[in-house]
């Protein structure tokens, strides 16, 4: 029983990181594309745009980091593995 839980934990940790990276990757791509377009239109406001972009990217990236933390919890601090 314990072995089964460990196997399922490892598989689901991999899935959590793998699937959880898809959404933030798409979102970051869109954000960077929009920021590049804005900078191309208005090069003089590049400083403000890139600062806002960095903060926004960090926000988006947090979603992927959450998945990573969940995976680590499954691997190292699983409450169901004795």
């Amino acid at each position: 029983m314990n072995d089964l839980i460990q196997i399922v934990s490892i598989v689901s940790a991999a899935f959590a990181v793998g699937l959880g990276a898809i959404g933030p990757a798409l979102a970051e791509g869109r954000a960077v594309a929009a920021a590049l377009e804005a900078i191309a239109r208005q090069p003089e406001s590049a400083g403000t745009i890139s600062r806002t972009l960095f903060v926004g990217l960090a926000m988006i990236e947090t979603m992927a980091i959450y998945c990573l933390v969940i995976a680590l919890l499954l691997l190292f601090a699983n409450p169901f593995v004795k």
Binding site: I65, V69, L72
Partner: protein
């Protein structure tokens, strides 16, 4: 088996308290920053030396960044934001010293830093608009939003903590795994990437702390 990144290795015990390695590294980084600041500001002159010019550049950039976010005197927030930026940067880059693991790769350090930002936000919110005014910002735009605003106040600092922890820890983790597979020269590009991530995360942490404090000081 790889050591769990969620637990810290004890270094030595001081009576009944066990001191872990991240605490030792944190104090080392703090001592290094304090010593460097003391040495750099010991002989300030009107015709700046090279070190003083770098220092002035850092302070001016910080002032500009803070003034762009919060109107008014930037000196009020420079101590906290500047310390956060420099400490996290030095802590992230401390992994360059062989055998040292960055203290920010452990949840406790990041929790302490995020808690500092939370307390600073509450302090500046109460100080700039009074206790009643600060409490009233939770009821904006309407009183229906009170639970959501309270939850947001907690979750955004929680995500501040998890973001820094996840980024730094994953960097350390990847370098450790690659180093175990192929030790010579192969981890170097990953360590360079790790340095970039560390710098960006320090900047992001400081910026977000500034934004959070600014939202407490400004209109909320």
């Amino acid at each position: 088996m790889i050591a769990s990144p969620l637990s810290a290795v004890p270094a030595f015990s001081l009576g009944p308290t066990i001191v872990t390695w991240p605490v030792v590294t944190t104090w080392g980084v703090m001592a290094a920053i304090a010593l460097a600041s003391f040495l750099a500001t010991r002989r300030l002159s009107l015709r700046p030396s090279r070190a003083q010019a770098v220092l002035e550049l850092v302070v001016t950039t910080l002032n500009d960044e803070i003034a762009a976010t919060i109107p008014g005197d930037p000196g009020r927030f420079r101590t906290l934001i500047g310390t956060l930026l420099l400490f996290i940067l030095c802590a992230n880059w401390s992994s360059l010293i062989p055998g040292v693991e960055p203290p920010t790769a452990h949840l406790e350090t990041d929790a302490a830093l995020a808690f500092t930002v939370l307390v600073a936000g509450v302090y500046w919110g109460i100080r700039s608009r009074g206790l009643g005014g600060w409490l009233r910002t939770f009821a904006k735009p309407s009183f229906v939003m009170i639970p959501l605003n309270v939850v947001e106040q907690i979750t955004r600092h929680f995500s501040l903590m998890v973001r820094l922890f996840g980024n730094v820890m994953s960097g350390v983790f990847v370098v450790g795994i690659v180093g175990a597979l192929a030790g010579l020269l192969v981890p170097i590009p990953l360590m360079a990437l790790d340095m970039l991530t560390g710098a960006v995360q320090a900047y992001i942490f400081a910026t977000l702390a500034l934004v959070f404090i600014g939202s407490a000081v400004n209109e909320g």
